[in-house]
């Protein structure tokens, strides 16, 4: 089990994943970090050995976005969708579809930013097209889980060494 985890993950229905996390920053900053193409690739990279070489975001209702992740072996995966609702700095609703697709159908992701006393709670609600999509998404984490924790440890140690050096 995780030691001090600020992240909560719930599955309130068989088609949903809801994640909540508190950040020590004002919500405009969080909104920017989630929606600006120059900022998203700096954190939304999933595994530490993956990068996001492509990040296109046309932030308006009906506008499209596209993320491409690349692994060390050259494997690429992308996610793309269309914005359904854009209310800065409070709320973004967008569709999501992965390529190569693990499944048919798309998800609808709602991201809510709430600020209180200078801290921001981000709630990410993933409404999956079907229960199978939801389960496949959750399961994809487990398959990579073990190798992944070592990657992460290594990354943390590297970051520490770098901050000491600078």
């Amino acid at each position: 089990m995780t030691l001090i985890s600020k992240l909560t993950i719930e599955t309130p229905s068989d088609r949903e994943i809801v994640m909540t996390r508190v950040f020590d920053a004002p919500r405009q900053m969080l909104f920017d970090a989630f929606t600006k193409p120059e900022l998203v690739p700096q954190w939304l990279t999933g595994r530490p050995d993956h990068t996001m070489p492509v990040c296109e975001i046309d932030l308006r209702v009906g506008g499209a976005y596209r993320y491409v992740w690349r692994g060390p072996d050259g494997f690429e995966m992308s996610s793309q969708g269309v914005f359904r609702e854009v209310t800065p700095p409070e709320r973004v609703v967008a569709t999501e579809r992965f390529e190569p697709s693990w499944y048919d159908g798309e998800n609808v992701n709602t991201t809510i930013f709430e600020e209180a006393a200078g801290r921001t709670t981000v709630t990410l609600r993933i409404q999956c097209g079907s229960k199978e999509i939801r389960d496949t998404m959750l399961k994809s984490g487990m398959e990579r889980g073990v190798a992944y924790s070592y990657d992460r440890l290594e990354q943390m140690l590297t970051a520490k060494a770098q901050s000491k050096a600078s």
Partner: protein
């Protein structure tokens, strides 16, 4: 349903069983020790048949078992299935925790840049 993956199928029932807040509360109670249907019904504003219905869902999902002996038939939690489900979530959690930890560091950089910018503008615009 994805019939090619038996692991996925067996976890389907676990996740739908866990989706209900009353059933999660029942599991939380059982994590402290065995309890009968009556004992479980007490803290919830629910009838005994309603609790029994939840217990059947949990039993089918392999999350609890019920003793066949005696009138009391106490329920007990079956930890292995729960840990399988939480292991599942853990991998997903690790990925998102790594994302959000990187985001924390990005926010720190953004905050210090903002500070530098506002200090600069204060210096260039003295009152």
């Amino acid at each position: 349903m994805n019939v090619k993956d038996p692991n996925l199928n067996s976890l389907d029932s676990t996740f739908s069983a866990l989706a209900d807040p009353t059933r999660r509360a029942i599991l939380a109670r059982l994590a402290k020790g065995e309890a009968s249907v009556l004992e479980l019904a007490e803290p919830f504003a629910l009838s005994q048949p309603a609790i029994s219905k939840h217990l059947r869902v949990l039993e089918r999902a392999g999350l609890i078992s019920r003793s066949r002996e005696g009138q009391r038939r106490p329920c007990r939690i079956e930890g292995h299935r729960l840990s399988e489900a939480s292991r599942w979530l853990d991998g997903y959690r690790r990925i998102w925790e790594a994302n959000f930890n990187r985001l924390d560091r990005l926010l720190e950089r953004m905050k210090s840049e903002q500070k530098v910018t506002s200090e600069r503008s204060r210096r260039s615009n003295p009152r």
